[in-house]
Amino acid sequence: MINKVYSTVAEAIADIPDGATVMVGGFGASGSPIELIHALIDQGATDLTVINNNTGNGEVGLAALIGNGQVNKMICSFPRSSQSKVFPKFYKEGKIELELVPQGTLAERIRAAGAGIPAFYTPTTVGTVLSEGKEVREFDGRPYVMEPWLKADFALINCEVADPLGNLTYNKTARNFSPLMCMAATTTIVQAKRLVERGEIDPEHVVTPGIFVNRVVEVPHQVHEDTLIVQGRSYP
């Protein structure tokens, strides 16, 4: 019987090596896999390249991973926010590299990797500095910029409900990039608020089919990133 369930977040992320490329689900605080990220801080892998829409908030989760000096490079669309303090400091001190990707291009590059499509053409960034040095081709008389797929060694994902096969559902806008990242990483690691028996998720309601998921760990009592920030918490 296939069983992708791990008993702790520490075991689930234990083999992430130095230098790995890691996708982290979430948009701002919603859908952020805080407990998996904190386990990665405890584990200590360094020289990571991290892919996320943002760069974390406050001093928990992704911001704490950056603050702990484990991230060499961020690939994201929006590294600033009102509660983002750690990344701006590291960036201005030259301690971290930034690859800025428009949000829709970021999503599609990740999707393309999961779908086995090495590159695609998009109208986004045509005529702007973000298309400099990139191939531009005309289709039906309009210019488009070529963008490559974006793969990762690992994806860290938060979901609402999972089963032992890795079928997943999400909660509202906490879904965001997560289904795409599940497809694009070699090893996808999921923390679920609730783990249910095989067959308990209606097949019509599965959002991420289990084929895209490698490991599932139940984290029932999650504290939302926004709540941790309001409480002024930091990690470790």
Binding site: F78, L130, K172, T173, L180
Partner: protein, 214 residues
């Protein structure tokens, strides 16, 4: 100082030009106010980039769900008939030309429809683009709501943007505190003046040629 439209009146004026049944994406700032001024008898469906079609107003305290936010990372609600989806679907709606209207704020807009609203290009600034470049290329009608000038009185309607572009030749209509302005093949064309505003004032606060109302 001059009369003209307040922020709320600019938003209300823009809302009048959005047809009934439109799928609409609203940028952060004054554009967000458009949702409060939907004309009587019309329905707009709001899209937010992070995966929601059918966005509603901020929640009452007891209905707050921390997993339900908009692209500006503010808590929102979902109206009856709303749908959630992942980011690639969300930007397929944008890039694929399925959204009717996007209302954005801006730093500069040029008479050829170029818009610059993501970066000042300052060397010490941290660049952040979000979904702006996807929106301006993909949504059928790009409307801009902006003060006619900066806080220091510099024109925001210019011949050529000095800041890095978000998109080239994409804007169709601009709602400022002084006027409604179309982008035409002849450049800026005033189609309506705000109450108490003369064309001479609009012209003097615009950084390039602007045509009077017909």
């Amino acid at each position: 100082m001059s009369a003209g439209w307040t922020r709320e009146q600019m938003a209300a004026r823009a809302a009048q030009d959005i047809p009934d049944g439109s799928y609409v994406n609203l940028g952060i700032g004054i554009p967000e106010l458009v949702a409060q001024y939907v004309p009587e008898g019309r329905e707009f469906i709001y899209h937010t980039e992070n995966g929601l079609l059918g966005m509603g107003p901020p929640p009452a305290e007891e209905a707050l769900d921390l997993d339900l936010m908009n692209a500006g990372k503010k808590y929102v609600t979902a109206v009856p008939g709303a749908a959630y989806f992942h980011h690639a679907d969300s930007f397929s709606m944008i890039r694929g030309g399925h959204l009717d209207v996007c209302v954005l704020g801006t730093m500069q807009v040029a008479s050829n429809g170029d818009i610059a609203n993501w970066s000042t290009g300052a060397p010490d600034a941290i660049p952040a683009v979000g979904g702006a470049m996807d929106l301006v290329q993909g949504v059928k009608n790009i409307y801009v709501i902006t003060q006619h000038t900066t806080k220091t009185g510099e024109p925001k309607l210019v011949h050529q943007c000095s800041y890095p572009l978000t998109g080239a030749g994409v804007v169709s209509r601009i709602f400022t505190n002084l006027a409604v302005v179309d982008i035409t093949s002849e450049g800026f064309q005033v189609i309506e003046l705000a109450p108490g505003i003369t064309f001479a004032e609009v012209e003097s606060k615009t950084g390039t040629t602007i045509l009077p109302p017909k």
